[in-house]
């Protein structure tokens, strides 16, 4: 009786006279918990292996375009809407939760070269090969109404890119030169140019909103201040930059996607040398987009893959590819930091998870606690060789694998030549 009662208090706990819980008395004396470090190491190893087991990032493919997807734009107010423009002039608006196209409109004859959404989310702009800039309403037309742009601007030259100011009713187009337009006017407020070649893309800075950056065909990146009438600064690289993207958290950092298979992160105050060179792609990098946290970015490349890079590291942490995905032209990171969208030239837009092994949906508190614990363990032991090996391992498709090997051999050869030159000089 006495023994039985004593045992009971170690087995059950009665809360509020009605709920019976299993008692779990704890004693945190470290002598009772030997092998703390090896056990944590084993748990970290298991967590790393399970992360690789659950890494299934591909969510779905948005089907419907009849030609390659050329550009994409995010809706600034709605997480479930994305706009895409194709090479046959069609613009489609997609609902990501239903994974369906909700609206299609024939925007241009020829390529849709660029598109951007207005900061309020009520309208969006497109530019095309037919030398026009068109502004459209974000809402679908009523029954009986036709798809008509709110506003059309006819230009004299082909426009290759467009970006809207983050706060004011101003947008910028690029083509022959960078034009800054007021929404109400039909001719640009000012035209900025430095050099004689065409400009392929223009981007407004989200934090210092009067700053712009553009990439030109003569291998340079030019920075402009909207308040002045002349460009600010210029940096010339070895090969042409395709696009650039400003860091949404650090006002002066931008990343440029270059044709020489690398991405360069610059600090606009010290353009003499890049802050970081990101090397992992095996073909020209076509597009780059930052995550809303400003800590990582995703890049799309001609080598049929997209890679996610941390801002402070020189190599990618993740590569996404599919047999069906061909040259990826455009990529976007959604504003809730969870998904990555990529549009390729085989007419599909693919939706991927930004963290490949993340469990989506609502997590129970125990699940969240277990996830946080595993994350912390992985961080603690990330430099141990066995764990590093497993965490880093990614299976590459044969084409990329062979290219990586070949380029490594070429780099080694260049390094050896430099070494020999250095040795023989002394």
């Amino acid at each position: 009786m006495n023994a039985a009662y004593l045992q009971l208090q170690y087995i059950y706990q009665i809360c509020n006279d009605c709920v019976i819980l299993i008692a779990v008395p704890r004693n945190y004396d470290p002598v009772l918990h030997p092998f703390e470090v090896p056990r944590e190491y084993t748990r970290a190893l298991n967590a790393t292996k399970l992360e690789r087991v659950f890494a299934k990032p591909f969510l779905s493919s948005l089907d419907g375009h009849r030609d390659g997807v050329n550009c994409m734009a995010k809706h600034p107010k709605s997480l479930s809407t994305v706009l895409s423009g194709a090479c046959d002039g069609e613009v489609k608006i997609w609902n990501l939760t239903k994974r369906q196209c909700i609206r299609t409109l024939q925007a241009h004859e020829g390529f849709v070269r660029g598109m951007c959404a207005r900061f309020c989310g009520t309208s969006f702009f497109t530019v095309g090969d037919d030398k026009t800039v068109k502004q459209w309403k974000m809402e679908s037309p009523e029954y009986g109404e036709e798809e008509e742009p709110i506003h059309t601007i006819l230009g004299k030259t082909v426009y290759t890119g467009i970006d809207h100011h983050w706060k004011e009713a101003v947008f910028a187009t690029c083509g022959h030169q960078v034009d800054i337009w007021d929404e109400q006017r039909t001719s640009p407020m000012c035209s900025l140019t430095w050099g004689f070649d065409s400009i392929s893309s223009v981007k407004f800075n989200p934090i210092e909103t009067y700053l712009l950056g553009s990439c030109a065909s003569d291998r340079n990146i030019v920075l402009y201040d909207m308040r002045q009438s002349t460009p600010l600064k210029k940096v010339i690289l070895k090969m042409r930059t395709n696009t650039l993207c400003w860091n949404p958290m650090e006002a002066f950092i931008f990343t440029a996607a270059n044709e020489d298979y690398n991405l360069y992160t610059f600090d606009m105050r010290f353009l003499a040398s890049p802050v970081m060179v990101h090397m992992d792609h095996v073909s020209a990098v076509l597009d780059v987009d930052y995550s809303p946290t400003g800590k990582e970015f995703v890049s799309a490349s001609f080598d049929k893959s997209i890679r996610i890079f941390p801002v402070d590291k020189g190599h990618s942490r993740e590569i996404y590819y599919t047999k069906r995905m061909q040259h990826v032209i455009t990529v976007k990171w959604t504003s809730d930091n969870k998904y990555v969208l990529c549009g390729s030239d085989e007419m599909n837009i693919r939706l991927w998870k930004a963290n490949a092994s993340e469990k989506l949906g609502v997590l129970a508190p125990r699940e969240k606690a277990a996830m946080n614990y595993n994350q912390k363990l992985k961080e603690k032991f990330q430099y141990h060789p066995q764990i590093k090996r497993i965490a880093r391992h990614r299976h590459l498709p044969k084409s990329i694998f062979c290219q990586v090997k070949e380029q490594r051999i070429m780099k080694e050869a260049r390094r050896r030549k430099l070494q020999n030159q250095h040795e023989n000089l002394q």
Binding site: N2, A3, L6, Q7, Y10, I11, I22, A23, V24, P25, R26, N27, Y28, D29, V31, L32, H33, P34, F35, E36, V37, P38, R39, Y41, T42, R43, N46, F381, H384, R415, R416, Q419, H422, E423, Q426
Partner: protein, 458 residues
């Protein structure tokens, strides 16, 4: 820096965990003698009469005179007891409720018995080979690669059964996978004395030349070799925290060693010499000298023992029960369970070892323990070495860099004097200019040395 921040966080966490000691429900037992009396004169009958009925029931004796001297083992939560008699009698029971789980006779000499990770399986070292049985007495495995086993120790966090044989082989068996992990020829003769260090899973073996050797499954040589006694070692025990080791030898001495420095701390001369030693969870050391069991507090080891008891016949096995104030002694006439107030840890941690666990809880614990099984390659003298920062020496790093780059980026380039006009570039003037910078390095080093001496001198 990040390391300093992490270090501070760990200190804070340790302090917070220590504060939770206030919430512990139980307190350890004790036996205090009146002034003028000694605790060693108190008998088991007196203690049983003074405590409550539940605790008094923990003192009992099993008269098993037929099947030879008994070896014993308790499970890690302390709930189940395994008895193995020399003439083949093996019994597994829940000793608190006295329910028998199984009782078999294996028809062979039994040299040692040991529980495996839970109360579902146990290993019996029989005369020829090692056998593994279910708790119902069903033979599960006969391991022919383990002949002539004399002593066994189960390493719970590695799921390894370490066995010492009469031919001098130390073998490790992984019971979760069923593979032999390592077999070392110790070249120390017949291995009849064995203990494990619970803090770092290192196996201690006592030899007939008075040395104690420490073994890890990854190394073919002993990690440490200590000369402890002037005769053969008779008994070995290591305390729970891995700081003290008690050894008893043929020279009738009982020595206590500090395992961090491998130096002797205390020595005690016992008139009859101890044949078996065991440490309790709270640091009491039990020594069986012929048929007398003496319990002393460690590390002070006073001459007068804390408790004394005379067994009917000399002891063959001595084990403290975890989380209970009970000492089990196996002897020629069976098994005796002795009450030792203050021996066991009063507060258990339910997530490590829960003596009151249900079958469901045991199954969950078993799965988690198997997932966290530490690989045998991590058994070292210092279990925290994985946590340390690996500081490769500066020299090693420099060598690696030179190898990678092909040249030394920090090496000073050779001095090449500039070309001067009007005879400034003649051989003599070049030599003069070179001589000016010739011994710069040595001059710099001497200057530094002088500065250091100057700073050190006053």
């Amino acid at each position: 820096s990040h390391l300093k921040l992490v270090g501070r966080q760990e200190e804070l966490a340790a302090a917070r965990a220590a504060r939770l000691d206030l919430l512990l429900p139980e307190e350890p037992g004790f036996l205090e003698a009146d002034p003028g009396e000694d605790t060693c004169t108190v008998s088991q009958g007196d203690i049983a009469a003074a405590v409550d009925i539940a605790s008094a029931a923990k003192h009992f004796e099993l008269r098993l005179e037929q099947f030879g001297p008994y070896r014993l083992d308790y499970t890690r939560p302390g709930r189940h007891l395994l008895l193995g008699g020399r003439r083949g009698h093996v019994a597994a029971l829940d000793w608190q409720t006295k329910t028998l789980m199984c009782e078999i006779n294996v028809m062979e000499t039994v040299t040692d018995v040991a529980w495996l990770h839970a109360e579902t399986m146990f290993a019996v070292a029989q005369r020829r080979w090692l056998y593994v049985y279910d708790n119902q007495g069903v033979e599960l495995n006969c391991l022919k690669r383990f002949p002539g086993v004399l002593r066994m120790q189960f390493l719970p966090y590695h799921f390894l059964l370490a066995t010492a044989s009469e031919t001098g082989f130390l073998q490790y068996l992984d019971v979760s996978v069923g593979k032999e992990v390592a077999a070392t020829c110790t070249r120390g003769g017949r291995l009849a004395v064995m203990a494990q260090n619970p803090a770092n899973a290192v196996v201690h073996l006592g030899h007939s030349n008075g040395t104690v050797t420490l073994w890890s499954p990854n190394v073919k040589e002993p990690l440490v070799r200590m000369l402890c006694h002037r005769g053969a070692i008779r008994a070995l025990a290591v305390d729970r925290s891995g700081t003290y080791m008690a050894t008893a030898g043929l020279d009738r001495k009982l020595q206590l060693f500090d395992l961090r420095t491998y130096r002797p701390l205390h020595a005690l001369v016992l008139p009859q010499g101890a044949a078996h030693l065991d440490f309790s969870q709270r640091g009491l050391l039990a020594a069986a000298c012929a048929d007398v069991v003496q319990v002393r507090p460690s590390p002070s080891l006073p001459r007068k023992p804390y408790l004394c008891h005379r067994l009917p016949l000399p002891a063959h096995g001595l084990r403290f029960c975890p989380y209970e104030d009970v000492l089990g002694a196996g002897h020629g006439a069976g098994f005796t369970s002795l009450l030792v107030p203050g021996a066991g840890e009063a507060n258990f941690d339910a997530l490590e070892n829960n003596p009151y666990r249900s079958r469901k809880q045991r199954q969950e614990w078993e799965v988690k323990a198997l997932l966290e099984k530490i690989p045998a390659e991590l058994i070292t003298l210092d279990p925290t070495c994985l946590d340390r920062v690996d500081t490769a020496s500066m020299e090693q790093k420099r060598q690696e860099k030179i190898q990678r780059l092909g040249f030394d980026p920090h090496a000073k380039a050779k001095f090449r004097p500039r070309r001067k006009a009007k005879g400034g570039s003649s051989a003599g003037s070049l030599l003069r200019r070179k001589r000016k910078v010739a011994h710069e390095e040595q001059r710099r080093q001497q200057q530094q040395q002088q500065q250091r001496q100057h700073r050190a001198a006053p």
